[in-house]
């Protein structure tokens, strides 16, 4: 799958629109005229998923689980309900499962058949998650995929790959980084990357000495 460009080289004569742009415009005009869609609702949907729903929500869940052992237990036993405690949920996350990384097990999430991804906690998926290389290789060569993300997992750590083949949506609970004792929940959430919650990354690490520690 190639990336799209806003302007292609083969514009039809007399139009600034690329062929795909022209098709999309024609379809929206038609469906609007027919009364099946409301363009204002489309704007609202775009705004919701472009600007409001995103991995900051999942990072809040992870940070809460790091500071609150009872919440962690609830999250790992009934993730949908525990995530809803933080006011997070919705389309593409109706049936959540959270899987915890440990020194013994690293978890990796994929959808080999399409692009299933936990929208309420991570937002819409990046292109690489939806594209053939990741979907093809995550299940057969997870260590090779992780290496391409710069992630090296010890040989002694087993890798479990979660293929999202039904409406269950998976999120990884990464291990809390070292040297974060005393961090606020908010400061911890800032360390949680999107990829850490897919399993293709790790949370940002902290140096042994807090950088802003006054002398």
């Amino acid at each position: 799958m190639s990336h799209d460009h806003a302007h292609s080289h083969d514009h039809p004569h007399g139009s600034d629109l690329s062929p795909v742009e022209a098709r999309v415009r024609a379809l929206e005009s038609l469906l609007t005229e027919k009364g099946y869609i409301d363009p204002a609702a489309l704007d609202t949907l775009v705004d919701l998923y472009e600007n409001k729903v995103g991995p900051h929500a999942g990072a809040r869940v992870v940070a809460r689980a790091w500071v609150d052992p009872a919440y962690r237990v609830r999250l790992l036993s009934d993730a949908t309900r525990a995530i809803a405690e933080l006011g997070i949920g919705g389309r593409g996350g109706e049936h959540m499962v959270v899987v915890a990384n440990t020194p013994e097990t690293h978890n990796l999430v994929v959808c080999t058949l399409c692009s299933c991804y936990p929208w309420p906690v991570l937002g819409l998926p990046p292109i690489w998650y939806k594209a053939p290389p990741y979907r093809a290789r995550a299940v057969i060569d997870p260590r090779g995929v992780l290496a391409e993300f710069g992630v090296s997992i010890p040989e002694s750590t087993r890798i479990t790959v979660w293929d999202s083949t039904a409406e269950t949506r998976y999120m990884v609970l990464p291990m809390r980084p070292a040297n974060t004792e005393g961090f606020s929940e908010e400061a911890l959430a800032a360390l949680v990357t999107r990829d850490a919650m897919i399993g293709t990354g790790l949370p940002d690490s902290m140096p042994p000495t807090a950088p802003e520690m006054p002398l």
Binding site: L30, R91, I127, A136, A166, E167
Partner: protein
């Protein structure tokens, strides 16, 4: 179907290439396709499984040669025509030539965010007892349906273990075609990497899939 969408284990697609600081959308038309697909799904003219079935029924060369939202667009045009909501002539013209067909509902701006933040659960009440329990050894059936299925090829015929009984859910294989939700038990089933991939499987590695009951038989 054994289509181009069923990618698990395929070779030759090259490395994974993450895009630094990737935007949610890469062009305005992608925003519109995304939102139109959501809004048209909301009309009830088809369901999510039907959309997936339509996307994966695109010819393999088209599927693999298209960007993600190009696939969505092609499937959306196909579904609009297949359900008679618009004719191919209307799609080409970009305006209505015939009266509209009734739809169950139209997605409105008001209440939209709350509706999407509430979600659209696909869990249903069970119609029968679950056939399998946690710990049961199972084999993913060696079946090759020509229609929609969520059983990936790479597990078919392989022996796994039930790790969790997830509950009963809408069955995609029938729901995709409007042939009923048929609430069906769903299981989390694990397979060892070497059961799936032989000696090249990651030692100690596991792959789990969410498998509907008809996909499984006792091992």
């Amino acid at each position: 179907m054994n289509g181009a969408q069923d990618l698990g284990g395929a070779h030759g697609f090259g490395p994974v290439v993450p895009e630094p600081n990737e935007p949610v959308f890469h062009a305005e038309w992608e925003r519109r396709v995304f939102a139109m697909a959501m809004a048209m799904g909301y009309t009830g003219a088809w369901n999510l499984d039907g959309s997936r079935a339509t996307r994966e029924s695109l010819p393999p060369a088209q599927y693999l040669g298209s960007s993600y939202y190009e696939i969505w667009l092609a499937a959306l045009e196909k579904q609009v025509a297949a359900t008679g909501l618009a004719t191919p002539d209307e799609l080409a013209a970009g305006h209505a030539l015939e009266p509209s067909k009734p739809v169950m509902r139209v997605l409105a701006h008001d209440g939209l965010e709350a509706r999407f933040r509430a979600g659209f659960p696909s869990s249903r009440e069970p119609a029968a007892a679950a056939r399998f329990a946690v710990g049961d050894p199972v084999i993913a059936r060696n079946v090759h349906p020509t229609g929609h299925t969520r059983l990936p090829r790479y597990v078919r015929g392989r022996r796994g273990r039930v790790e969790r009984v997830d509950g009963t859910f809408v069955f995609p294989d029938t729901n995709a075609y409007g042939a009923g939700e048929n609430p069906t038990w769903l299981y989390t089933v694990s397979f060892t990497a070497q059961e799936l991939w032989g000696p090249s499987g990651d030692p100690g590695g596991t792959v789990t899939v969410a498998a509907f009951e008809p996909y499984l038989e006792p091992a």
